[in-house]
């Protein structure tokens, strides 16, 4: 019984360290405030009876659980211990995790799960599967009630991947995290395709290609810093607001809108610089930085209050909405709405990405998620149209029609069904064709259209834009909007739940 704190023992710990990983207990102690960790169920013993398992002692049954704080922010936490039977999940292992999850729900504090496990403990058979099921069920019920964070610090394969997938934020570390449903060996035998573990489900793959991961770090320490930063922006649970911070002005000398923002709507710029020009201390904490970079989502503060930013990124794919960027934005909007974090949307997009691959990948149902999540959201919604807002993209990006509370436009905003060239070519098709000089006529019609419609005033005339503002006034307007909507309460029809286009 003694020696439970030693996990799998010296040899196993040595092996763990050789792969550049910390032990489960070290991870918890590094992440939490010093002396804040209180461990539960250290003396739990495993329940395996078959295959001589009853003769084996597995300290804590391969998982460390407990409570603690991160910069004073309370959390329930568990960390799988790879040094004990490869962190495999048996009946009691799962029971310990389920217990700390129930605890988190009862206490209404966030849950952090550190995953480092070879998967199901095969010797325990169906009890191991039952264990996973109990965890998934709890993940689902906790979704939207308490923030759930998954940290992948080792293998997380097969059914085990579904717990992180059900949680709000997944953290991965280069060379350490591995996530997949079917491993490289099976793929090789069944399909004859050769792929390394890293290329199949390494940290980069999930951060950049699949979008399963939200934060990518190069070391465990960097990863823990990211977690600490994330929890500073989010509340303990869905009945609370994020803790306010001391107000800091943006670094406007470093981030000058006039220098960072080209008025020609066909020229690219990095929209993150505009966010930084406006938010407190120019500190923008980006979520899913590497995935679907044509939309930018993340947390920042305005006047000390935590807000979620969603912004089209003209620097990448002209800022279009597509399958991936729709998924990314919709999920982020739903997180912010669940946890009372106001949404600020910066609009600058030409529409949806054209292409057979997009249509066949289901851009219709994926794109619909953006409409759904914005319409559903009842937190304060503030929209700023920076330049182009064309077609369906204009509607989707938190327009008044989806019940934005404030829609502001910069003088450079162009709100229209499509860009001037496309529109002029359709509206004046015959006039252009029949003109003595069609090319000249075309150019003139485009110019006319630009002058009349490529501005915010047509939309403002119908009240779809509340105010046209000087870009330098944006922070003031947003601050005011947040203050005045502090008591906002909006009801939605009573229902069991909606049926979002998942």
């Amino acid at each position: 019984m003694h020696g439970a704190l030693q996990g799998g023992g010296e040899k196993a710990i040595e092996k763990q360290k050789a792969t550049g990983k910390m032990t489960a207990r070290e991870r918890i102690l590094t992440l939490l405030d010093s002396d804040s960790f209180h461990e539960y169920d250290l003396f739990v013993e495993h329940a395996g009876k078959d295959f001589d398992m009853d003769k084996k002692y597995l300290p804590g049954d391969g998982v460390v659980t407990g409570t603690g704080t991160i910069s004073g922010y309370p959390v329930c936490i568990y960390a799988q211990d790879f040094t004990v039977a490869g962190g495999s999940l048996g009946y009691m292992h799962a029971k310990k995790i389920a217990k700390i999850m129930d605890h988190a729900m009862k206490l209404k504090v966030p849950l952090i799960g550190i995953n480092d496990s070879g998967g199901a403990r095969i010797q325990e058979g169906v009890n191991s599967l039952a264990g996973y099921g109990e965890i998934f069920y709890r993940n689902t019920l906790a979704s939207g009630v308490i923030p759930q964070i998954s940290v992948i610090l080792g293998p997380c394969a097969g059914g085990a991947v579904y717990s992180p997938a059900l949680t709000d934020f997944v953290f991965v570390v280069d060379k350490i995290s591995k996530m997949f449903i079917t491993g490289p060996e099976v793929i090789k035998t069944v399909l004859g395709e050769d792929i390394s573990m890293e290329d199949l489900g390494g940290a980069k793959v999930h951060a950049e290609i699949t979008g399963n991961a939200h934060f990518y770090a190069e070391s465990e320490l960097e990863c823990f810093d990211q977690i600490k930063k994330l929890v500073s922006f989010i509340p303990w649970n869905n009945t609370k607001k994020a803790e306010p911070f001391p107000i800091k002005q943006p670094k406007t000398k470093q981030y000058k809108i006039s220098e960072l923002f080209p008025t020609d709507s066909k020229k690219p710029y990095d929209v993150r610089n505009i966010i930084k020009a406006i938010c407190d201390d120019s500190d923008f904490f980006e979520v899913q930085q590497m995935f679907a970079a044509n939309i930018v989502v993340g947390f920042a503060r305005i006047n000390g209050q935590s807000v979620g930013f969603v912004a089209n990124q003209p620097m990448v794919l002209a800022g279009v909405l597509d399958v991936d960027s729709s998924d990314k934005a919709a999920r982020f909007v739903r997180f912010c709405d669940s946890f009372n974090i106001p949404l600020i949307t910066f609009v600058d997009l030409p529409g949806y990405l054209p292409g057979i691959d997009q249509e066949h990948a289901g851009v219709i149902r994926h794109g619909a998620k953006v409409l759904y999540s914005y319409s559903e959201a009842t937190v304060p919604k503030i929209t700023v149209i920076l330049r182009k807002a064309y077609g369906g993209g204009y509607i989707a990006m938190c327009s008044h029609h989806l019940r934005a509370d404030f829609v502001l436009a910069w003088p450079t905003a162009e709100i229209a069904v499509m860009g001037p060239e496309g529109a002029a070519n359709i509206i004046f098709k015959n006039e252009i064709l029949n003109a003595p000089n069609p090319e000249e006529a075309r150019r003139k019609k485009i110019e006319d259209y630009k002058e009349k419609f490529a501005n915010p005033y047509v939309a403002a005339a119908y009240g779809y834009v509340d105010a046209v503002i000087d870009p330098l006034e944006t922070r003031n307007f947003i601050t005011h909007a947040l203050e005045i909507s502090a008591q906002k309460k909006e009801d939605r029809p009573i229902k069991k739940h909606g049926i979002p286009p998942f």
Partner: protein
């Protein structure tokens, strides 16, 4: 995260959306997207990776719809590959014993 990385000047491309040309960067995923090719019965491809066990036809053979062309062994199963159209074998790209990956062109019918 980005602090450690050097600033590289991004490569700009033109992306046309609804008649307008935009100057922007492209993602790897966008650059690596598969070009669309319409489905045709004239191209017999492997629906699964495996081994060609037997080829029943050769170049110049007349085949009729429903005729066996080859056997593709995959996951310990012999899959009889038949043609859905009648025509002439234009080319056979594989030999028996050959391993093939998924969606590889095996036989072309004209």
């Amino acid at each position: 995260m980005s602090k450690k990385k050097k600033l590289v000047k991004p490569e700009l491309y033109i992306l046309n959306v609804l008649g307008e040309d935009y100057s922007t960067t492209l993602t790897n995923k966008y650059k690596n997207r598969k070009p669309y090719s319409p489905y045709t019965h004239k191209h017999i491809t492997s629906f699964i990776p495996g081994t060609i066990k037997k080829v029943f036809v050769e170049k110049g053979d007349e085949v009729i719809s429903g005729q066996k062309l080859l056997i593709l062994e995959a996951m310990k199963m012999d899959n009889e590959i038949i043609t859905n159209i009648s025509g002439k074998i234009k080319k056979v790209f594989v030999k028996s014993g050959q391993m093939v990956s998924k969606n590889e062109l095996l036989i072309e019918i004209s």
